[in-house]
């Protein structure tokens, strides 16, 4: 997902958010994504301390939905 500049732009929205528990700004970190038996790693914003991942609506309903659909058709 990170190869796509549109996705990068959409992920930039994460700069407006902080981790509530740790008070940290979010950083991009590789995370495992898995669906329908396939696993791959992509860069996702997350809290550098507690590691909780952040996914904005535009990415979930856009690129992520497309990948889900593609994996379902495999």
């Amino acid at each position: 997902m990170t190869a796509n500049s549109d996705v990068r732009r959409e992920l930039a929205v994460s700069e407006e958010w902080t981790c509530f528990a740790c008070g940290e700004a979010l950083v991009l970190r590789e995370a495992p994504l898995s669906y329908q038996g396939a696993t791959f790693r992509v860069e996702v914003p997350c809290c550098p301390t507690c590691g909780q991942y952040f996914l904005p609506e535009s990415v979930v309903l856009g690129k992520m939905a497309q990948v889900e659909q593609a994996l379902e058709d495999k």
Partner: protein, 772 residues
Amino acid sequence: MGLNGERQPPLATAREELEARCIQEEPPRCQAACPARVDVRGMCEALAKGNPDEALKLLRKSVPFPEILCRICDEPCGPACLRGESGEPVRIRMLERAAVEYGREGPSRRPLIRKKQRALVAGGGLAGLTAAKELGRKGYAVTVLVPEDRAGGELLLLPESVLPRDVVQRGVASLPETVTVRTGAAMDLSPREEWDAAFLADARFLPDMKGDPLSLVTSDPVVFAPDDRTETSPVLLLSYGKRAALSMDRVFQNASLTASREGETGAGTRLHTSLEGVTPSEAVRPSDGDRYTLEEAAREACRCIRCSCLECVKRCPFLDHYGGYPKLHIRTIYNNLAIVMGNRTASRMINSCALCGLCARVCPNDLDMGAVCLEARRSLVAMKKMPTSAHDFALRDMASSGSDEFALLRNEPGTERSAWLFFPGCQLGASDPAIVEKTYAWLRARLPHPDGAGTGIILRCCGAIGSWAGRDDLAQAEHHALLDSWERMGRPVVVTACPSCARELKDVLPADRLRSIWDVAREFGLPGEGELSGLGDVRVLDPCAARDDPETRSAVRELLRRRGLRDATEESGSTAENDGSRSECCGYGGLVSFAHPALADRFADRASSGGGTKITYCAMCRDLFARSGAEAYHILDILFAREPGDLAVRPCPSWSERRDRRRLLRAQLLRTIWGEDAAMRELNVRLLFSGEVEALTDRRWILREDIETVVATAERTGRKFRHRTNGRFLASARIGAVTVWCEYEPEGDAFRVHRAYSHRMRIGEEEDHDGQ
């Protein structure tokens, strides 16, 4: 037909047989009757659009000498033309003449590649010239033997007014350069060493030799002749020439003489074309003798019906959406299942059929695409290739119906056994819990209590959701749970209030132990009395599941008549369009709503279109019709009404409301009838939604209770994000097979939800929350 009806052979083993049932690719009657197989329908289409160039191109594909044939054709297409059953047949020959006169041809021709084989054509009439032209175009060296001093044969005997000599001459002149016309020839074939195959077009050459009716091969394997050497029909002579040329080409190429040639002879076709909506009309009379102007030709071509079946496509939003016709879809679906590597791009299509079987009902050959799609779903499930997103929400809903929170099974208070068991189904209570309570009270009061056995109630799913999803394992688990309860209650008569439940349970329960509530009401009396006037024009919209259940359909109509209501269209008689035998699905059937929501909306819009008050007897039909904007009532609304003022169209509930209403129904019944308190779900947090956000959340299949879980968990653990400027929070939780995200902010002692969205993909190690 449909889910439990007449079985058709399975796709896995009978693909070709199923494909053959779809006759859309069969030729129209005109083309089948034409020995030259002219694409008359395509030609009419082109002329009607004012495109004679295209019409001529199509004509020339089948007819090497269109300028000759359009003047002398004996028109076997005329009597075959279906238009003749609604007015006069289309004047096809005159349209061909218009194509010839007004059509222009481009200069581009395929380059001629000369081949070494030599063909001999005995006779220079229409059959001989046709064979010579066809073979010459393919590059063979052709010699035409003409006993007279010029080519044309029988064509030269026709009056000038019918076929001018110069037209024949231009035809002869159009022969390719590979063709040599030898005039003044003797009535014998040239010596064998001078040719590789011969066609006896003229009966004066070896008159005793006759050919096979299809390939025209004679006792000599390289000599061809018509099976009837005395034939005089111009179009048949032309077809002899074409067939001889094809056979000789095959001889030259060492190919089979007979393979794939079934379509060349015979005048039959299986194509079915409905004349519904076709107004009778007379042929356009030409203003100039026997020739049409281009404008007259266009008008006459417009009279062509464009014979085509598409009976199923005309009636089904699913088939209409995917285009084409079933034969094509069967191949696509078959291939989708056979894929080992690569994408199964037809899975969504397979899951977008309502499985209602209307296609089979209107198909001339009973082809049921619902059965094909259901089989395909079962295969996808078996191969573990069913897309999770297609039915996950529906299957979770089904599981919830059977859970302790929603399910209920009781004998009537004060009884140990049940003679009757009310089975309202999962959606009636979800739509309107009060109507289930009223109905159960009425059944307890009205139904007889033989030997102290009462009227029990069961709240759970019938299994239809599992069946539709191709999950027979889940459907059977529901059936077993029901059967088990039913045995323990003393094998009562199960009274269903939903046609889909009735259809699902038909194969589960003995026939004498399953009745519809409408049938029971007919026998034991209605809950409300008197005529209900003031509803205006009423339309009865039968659910698709009742299409094969005429008894239920007539019971419903009788109940309505007893309340003074009658389908407005029945005044002019009962027809296939208003008796429910061709009723259309609302889009819930087959779980279309879940796999393809936009298409499901089209089902509902279509099934509930037209004016008037709509009455149906399926809770989902009622709800979806109401969502489509129809004034739609469930028949129980009508039967319990004392006066029209009692009636108000309820809005379609959201999925969250459906859950809440089912819970409420169970709690109400337990409290009011059995004096028990049901443990209600504890609300951890109170949520506030704007109407817009709530509707969007519902369309995304996210339940209010799922959002409660997200917010409650985030508030308890502090695992959430905070917006730097507006103070909102964003949190997520894994619930079943989805991760639900919610953006919210505190408002008083509640939380206002600003957006919710979900994905199925798992990220990192998410902790599961049970959404139930």
